[in-house]
């Protein structure tokens, strides 16, 4: 066990836990370089990658030069500073059947950091804005059925922090192991209990489960009116598990069928390879219902938009590949290059799509 990296994690956790302590640019830069040196020293796989690119701690002078690893490399390589006996939890990406999934290794300390990171930004975004007490409904299977999902772990952390009942999870596993909704339990949870004072609902789920739910409501000709102040947080893509809807259409349907207005629908951007998430609302300000939505990571994670041709950062209005430097990824790798495309918008970014193996000009097979 390397004490330095644990000390770094503890310091960062304190910083994250204190919403008053903003992280300035120079402070972020120092922390990033400090973490890079630790990860270079402790993570042998990452060290090889950096050495091969000749970007080692003595050479790298600024955090933007720190070598990023592709998110997909988590499928092939063990990108961790944890010794095998320190790892207690592994988060897998939700890859499609037959594909390898990513592995993000966690120990008790790194999970604590993950929870601190997700809760702090979640709380600043959602709760301070509304000031309401929510009844939580998560449209995913419960943690015991999805122990390797970082998303379910996040929802469970939120549920515990808000003191909601365990029955909050209304998802289940289908026969093939994929996620499905228990529609009866979902409708039960969403229907107002006549004898209780209605509490605002906080509905958490992936875009594709929302589509499943909404399709069902349309089919049954049901319209629900969730209590005033109810919020929806939708996350993630579709991965071919439902018909894909543009965000504006999905949100309009949520408003129509669940009675949640657009300003209470919040998009989340995250992945199992990260420990922080981005939301598309500005801190403490009413959510904007303009599309495209602009996402923001917390101060301990920064985004760069990289030109796939030159490998350098693009100008503010140009499209590029999203690269994230997440300080909360202390025990894996902080610099992650995604396959998502984005455009910088002020201090946030707009999500514009995904790198595609599609062949608009040819006719070869689609990406397997």
């Amino acid at each position: 066990m390397n004490r330095e990296i644990y000390r770094f994690a503890a310091r960062l956790r304190d910083l994250i836990g204190n919403p008053q302590s903003a992280i300035s640019n120079p402070q972020f830069a120092d922390l990033a370089l400090e973490l890079f040196a630790l990860q270079y020293g402790q993570n042998p796989v990452y060290r090889n990658i950096c050495a091969a690119r000749n970007l080692t701690p003595p050479v790298v002078g600024h955090w933007t030069q720190i070598p990023a690893v592709p998110a997909a490399a988590f499928k092939e390589l063990s990108l961790t500073s944890l010794a095998p006996d320190e790892s207690t939890t592994i988060f897998h990406s939700s890859g499609t059947t037959g594909q390898k999934s990513s592995r993000h290794f966690h120990s008790a300390e790194s999970l604590a950091l993950y929870e601190a990171s997700l809760w702090s930004w979640f709380e600043q975004h959602l709760l301070q804005a509304s000031g309401l007490k929510f009844q939580v409904i998560a449209l995913t299977p419960p943690p015991e059925l999805a122990p390797h999902s970082s998303l379910v772990h996040m929802f469970e952390t939120v549920r515990q922090k808000l003191g909601a009942a365990k029955s909050a999870f209304v998802g289940k596993l289908a026969v093939d192991g994929s996620w499905a909704l228990d529609l009866e339990a979902t409708l039960d949870a969403l229907s107002p209990a006549p004898l209780r004072a209605p509490r605002a609902a906080l509905l958490l789920g992936t875009a594709f489960t929302f589509v499943h739910l909404l399709d069902y409501l349309v089919e049954q000709d049901f319209r629900l009116e969730l209590p005033a102040g109810s919020c929806v947080i939708e996350t993630g893509g579709y991965k071919n598990r439902a018909r894909a809807l543009p965000k504006s259409e999905l949100h309009a349907l949520i408003t129509e069928r669940l009675g949640v207005p657009g300003e209470n629908i919040i998009c989340e951007y995250g992945m199992s390879e990260l420990s922080s998430q981005a939301y598309d609302t500005a801190k403490n300000s009413p959510a904007s219902v303009h599309y495209p939505r602009v996402f923001h990571f917390p101060p301990w994670a920064r985004v760069q938009i990289i030109s796939p041709e030159s490998g350098r950062e693009v100008a503010e209005v140009e499209t590029g590949v999203i690269r994230i430097f997440d300080l909360a990824n202390v025990f894996s790798v902080a610099a992650i290059q995604t396959e998502d495309l984005g455009i910088r918008r002020g201090d946030g970014f707009e999500l514009v799509g995904r790198a595609q193996l599609a062949e608009p000009r040819g006719c070869s097979l689609m990406a397997a």
Binding site: V45, N48, I49, A51, A52, R53, A68, V69, P70, A72, A73, E76, L77, I306, P308, E309, S310, G311, T319, G320, V321, Q337, E339, L341, G353, R354, A355, Q356, L357, A358, E359, P360, R361, G362, C363, S364, L365, M366, A367, A368
Partner: protein
């Protein structure tokens, strides 16, 4: 250099197409066919196509110059790639090649000078009648011109009125080809229509399908199913779904004396049409234990691609495609630092070309645009194991081998299910007699009338 607006695709972008316009265009085409096309003889059509092709092969040809001037921005292919691709394509248009095609697919009846009359060879026990569809519709995919031009050529041979629907923004080369036919013979040009709109426009497509007798379509399996579902039952549907291709280099040509030529042929196939289309290789399997080792072959291919980038540069590609290349590169660069058996060579400062060498023989889908996998294998059997997942979806196997070995390998790959085996370097340049996806391209369009008699 503007084009007269003979075709719907020539109209300015603000002109809006409507179902009545499509129906009217189809009816005009049918009338013109009746008047101008049906009376023509097969040999006339061959002569016309050869004349048009001879024109395209001249450097000062009006249409070729337009293709090279506007092609790079409209098709995404560089001038050099267009130049070479068009040359290779139109060189195939010779009387001999057309006669081989007609002989192969129509046989004795090909000699018929008037397709509506019985075959001239009355000594044949079964004199036959053949005819093409009245209105032949093509749903062309993407910007790769060869399949679209080939389709128009076949439709002219069957004397069909033709309506080609191109993807939005992808009609330039079919239009120019149609204009060149119009210039050579305006009456025949009046039997062609080229239009473009974004696929999935139900109203326009329904109007078109209602007039169609036979429809060819290229695209994803989903696209083909969607089209098929909309077609009236009587329409003959010829769908060409997704296919992939790969190369195979045998040990005996991995020798110092011939390696430069083999590498150059491999580069030709990667560069041709920037690797777009079903016939371009995603991977080149290379036999191990040659005098030149497989990783050296990969390195030589990288050197060749770098050299050719200056003379035949890759075109500009959309951000999604360059991001896919950047992403794959980063993954292989990362893996290469951990595996002695994986290596990567790539164009610095751009995504123009990439060679990935890896021992894993599993066939991988390349992000294309000159991104090629080189995979060492002990023998051909290992190729078939590695490519098992795409078995039945393989169009072309490009071979670099001795003639004897090629014959032996062709038999193996044919049994395995590949539908075309050709020399490496010619993968994107099939002859006119090519049977698209293993089916007769011309023969599939035709309807026969059998005439049985007892005299």
């Amino acid at each position: 250099m503007n084009l007269p607006d003979y075709f719907l695709a020539d109209l300015p972008p603000e002109a809006k197409l409507s179902p009545p316009m499509i129906a009217a265009a189809c009816n005009t085409l049918k009338r013109n066919r009746e008047k101008y096309l049906l009376p023509r003889q097969t040999e006339d059509m061959v002569n016309l196509l050869c004349e048009v092709a001879t024109g395209w092969l001249q450097t000062d040809n009006h249409f070729r110059r337009l293709a090279l001037a506007r092609g790079p921005s409209e098709t995404g292919f560089s001038k050099a790639v267009l130049d070479k691709g068009l040359d290779r394509f139109f060189h195939q248009f010779t009387p001999d090649n057309f006669h081989s095609l007609l002989e192969q697919e129509i046989g004795k009846a090909a000699g018929v000078t008037d397709a509506t009359q019985p075959a001239s060879d009355f000594s044949s026990p079964t004199p036959d009648f053949w005819r093409g569809p009245e209105l032949l519709t093509h749903i062309a995919a993407g910007n790769l011109p060869n399949p679209a031009l080939m389709s128009l050529m076949l439709g002219l041979l069957t004397r069909s009125a033709q309506f080609m629907k191109c993807a939005s923004g992808a009609s330039l080369l079919p239009r120019l080809f149609a204009h060149s036919i119009y210039r050579a013979d305006p009456k025949l040009g009046a039997c062609l229509e080229i239009a473009e709109w974004r696929g999935g426009n139900r109203e326009l497509e329904c109007a078109l399908y209602a007039e169609t007798d036979c429809l060819t379509a290229t695209g994803s399996d989903e696209t083909l199913s969607a089209i098929r579902a909309q077609l009236p039952a009587h329409v003959r549907f010829l769908g060409y779904g997704h296919r992939v291709s790969f190369g195979f280099v045998t040990r005996e040509v991995l020798r110092d004396e011939v390696i430069a030529e083999v590498v150059s042929h491999a580069a030709d196939d990667v560069i041709a049409w920037d690797q777009h289309g079903c016939l371009s290789p995603h991977a080149i399997y290379v036999e191990e234990r040659g005098a030149v080792e497989s990783d050296r072959f990969a390195e030589l291919l990288a050197i060749e691609l770098a050299k050719r980038e200056t003379s035949e540069p890759r075109g500009d590609i959309p951000i999604e495609e360059s991001a896919a290349i950047a992403s794959r590169r980063l993954i292989y660069e990362t893996l290469a630092t951990h595996r002695a058996d994986a290596k990567i060579w790539s164009c610095p400062n751009s995504t123009a070309w990439t060679v990935v060498f890896e021992h894993d023989t599993t066939f991988r889908i390349s992000p294309l645009n000159r991104f090629i996998f080189v995979k060492p294998v002990p023998d051909a059997a290992a190729v078939m194991v590695g490519a098992a997942e795409v078995r039945g979806k393989v169009s072309t196997v490009g071979l670099a081998a001795s003639p004897e070995k090629s014959r032996e390998l062709a038999a193996h790959f044919a049994r395995w299910g590949a539908t075309r085996i050709c020399p490496l370097g010619r993968m994107q340049n099939p002859p006119l007699t090519w049977r698209h996806d293993g089916r007769q391209a011309l023969g599939d369009l035709i309807t026969w009338t059998d005439f049985e008699h007892d005299f």
